[in-house]
């Protein structure tokens, strides 16, 4: 049963990611990425990481993607922005781009081959106290003890990002506004 769910989620993730990269409309790309995240969240549940799964939905699908959606809507991004392309899906354009797609495939094969020998054994069945060891309590304890410095540094990072984003996206108050375009 778990194997069935794994293959379903894996297939959904891969197909959704392919469509994110391949199809034209940016709005659909964003929505497909959300689908991909949801499938990944399912994979995390299968990997005994329920906290990770829920946090993935809250942060990625619930916050970051809303941000992307806002920008796509506000900039009114249309499919035709993507250069002078034809409408066929997966038409990466002239020869160099097709070559690039082949290279990406080569990359995938290389990575799989390189990682192949890490572990041929199946996952050990979850230890008796696995649920407790990977529970939210355990994560919290480790986060605030061994990784406390990284935690605080991340909070400073988020503050910097917040301030930076507000300043970068601000309209220049001294520039003349366009009246007749």
């Amino acid at each position: 049963m778990d194997a069935l769910f794994f293959w379903i989620f894996a297939a959904v993730t891969v197909v959704a990611s392919l469509l994110v990269v391949g199809q034209r409309n940016p709005m659909y790309s964003v929505l497909l990425l959300i689908v991909s995240f949801a499938a990944l969240s399912g994979l995390y549940v299968l990997l005994n990481a329920p906290f990770m799964a829920v946090v993935q939905i809250i942060i990625y699908a619930g916050a970051i993607m809303v941000l992307f959606l806002f920008v796509v809507m506000l900039l009114n991004v249309r499919s035709e922005e993507d250069g002078a392309e034809t409408r066929r899906p997966f038409d990466f354009g002239p020869g160099p781009r097709k070559f690039g797609a082949v290279l990406a495939l080569v990359l995938a094969v290389q990575l799989i081959w390189a990682l192949r020998r890490i572990a041929e054994a199946p996952f050990a069945p979850a230890a008796a106290n696995a649920a407790e060891q990977t529970s939210v309590t355990a994560i919290g304890l480790r986060l605030f003890r061994e990784y406390a410095f990284a935690f605080e540094a991340t909070s400073v990072l988020i503050l910097v990002a917040m301030v930076g984003a507000v300043i970068l996206a601000r309209r220049d108050p001294h520039a003349p506004t366009r009246k007749d375009q």
């Binding site: 194997a3 069935l4 794994f6 293959w7 993730t13 891969v14 990611s17 994110v20 990269v21 940016p26 790309s29 990425l33 991909s36 995240f37 994979l43 995390y44 990481a49 990770m52 946090v55 993935q56 942060i59 990625y60 916050a63 970051i64 941000l67 992307f68 920008v71 900039l75 991004v77 922005e81 993507d82 250069g83 690039g100 797609a101 990406a104 990359l107 995938a108 799989i112 990682l115 572990a119 041929e120 054994a121 996952f123 050990a124 060891q133 990977t134 994560i139 480790r142 990784y147 991340t154 990072l157 988020i158 990002a161 917040m162 930076g164 984003a165 300043i167 970068l168 996206a169 309209r171």
Partner: protein, 103 residues
């Protein structure tokens, strides 16, 4: 019956997602789609961390994946702000429109 997933299966899936993201970053001519492809790559890495975590029975991988998510959020915010600022100048979202620094 379907084959039971091992650690190798998860790592292979991760590798495939990472290559899809890489292909997106290099081949797409729309800034927002490029950012989306970067998010795909980051998620592939998160999957690797959590899968190895399950294999080893620790929680460190989950914590690192959590940090990766936070950093991805910060990076997405700043990246989108930059895109908005760029769009205001050139009214275009194609990376080919921003070539004025080329010699």
């Amino acid at each position: 019956m379907l084959p039971e997933p091992t650690l190798n299966t998860y790592l292979a899936l991760s590798a495939v997602l990472f290559s899809i993201g890489t292909a997106g970053v290099f081949l797409r001519r729309n800034l927002i789609t490029i950012l989306l492809s970067i998010e795909v790559m980051l998620n592939a890495v998160n999957l690797t961390f959590v899968a190895v975590d399950r294999f080893l029975g620790t929680v460190d991988g989950q914590i690192i994946a959590f940090f990766v998510m936070t950093v991805a959020a910060a990076e997405a915010a700043v990246g989108l702000a930059i895109i908005i600022a760029l769009f205001r100048h050139r009214q275009s979202l194609s990376p080919d429109a921003f070539t004025s620094l080329k010699w």
